[in-house]
Amino acid sequence: MKMIRAIIRPEREAQVLEGLEKAGRYAMTKLSVLGRGQQRGIQVGAVSYDELAKLMLLLVVEDADCERVVALIEEGAWTGHPGDGKIFLQEVREAYTVRTGHKEL
């Protein structure tokens, strides 16, 4: 299993969610974060925005579905400009559902 950690533009949330929902992927966690990439934020005239608002999505998927889900997120999140975000993958060893008490996703 993989945990997909996607950091995207908040204004692309609707597109990303639409793509994921069409593929039947509803389960996820989202949180608002602040961040920057190699560009160190943006400068507008005299004002520097050192950190920018982003949306972090966390999804846990089976290995076989991972590439497809990453592609779906990328599709919805892409604008072609710096600031589109990043997607990171982490290895998940175990998943438990608290309601049932069992080791299952």
């Binding site: 846990v60 998943a95 438990y96 608290v98 309601r99």
Partner: protein, 145 residues
């Protein structure tokens, strides 16, 4: 480590040298629990009883296959009724040695199972962790935790 004006190129280790830190076996795990916000204190107490004092908590929004909470409209139709698409959840992260994962997972589970089969109790994920560092002393691995 000095970071220059350009994007710092961490680069490959010089020929004949090993990387700064030798790859150590994975002795640590990251437990990420997505729970009901109201169970914060109970979870803290359960973790303490299980011998884990350290954790990080953040409020997040989440949902699973139920698609959040959906309500039927006047005609009894769920598709066009009101919906709370994402629900507030508490994300609790605990870093422990892999030998203690089972005990900590069970402690969190026990403190969070409503036991009535209600959806929304949450999920617990156990992730691999590469390295842990204690900022104050630069200790690594299990000494850092």
């Amino acid at each position: 480590m000095v970071v220059t004006g350009e994007a710092a190129d961490l680069g490959e280790p010089a020929l004949g040298q090993t990387s700064v830190r030798e790859a150590t076996p994975c002795v640590l795990a990251e437990i990420v629990a997505l729970l009901r916000p109201g169970r914060r204190q109970a979870t803290r107490q359960a973790l303490e009883s299980a011998g884990s004092l350290a954790y990080t908590a953040v409020t997040v929004l989440g949902r699973s296959r139920q698609r959040g909470l959906r309500f039927k409209n006047e005609k009894g139709d769920e598709a066009t009724g009101a919906a709370i698409r994402f629900l507030p959840k508490l994300m609790v992260t605990v870093v422990v040695e892999t030998t203690r994962v089972k005990a900590v997972v069970q402690a969190i589970m026990k403190a969070n199972r409503t036991g009535k089969g209600e959806h929304g109790d949450g999920k617990i994920f156990v992730l691999e962790l590469g390295e842990a560092v204690r900022v104050s002393t630069d200790e690594r691995g299990k000494e850092a935790v």
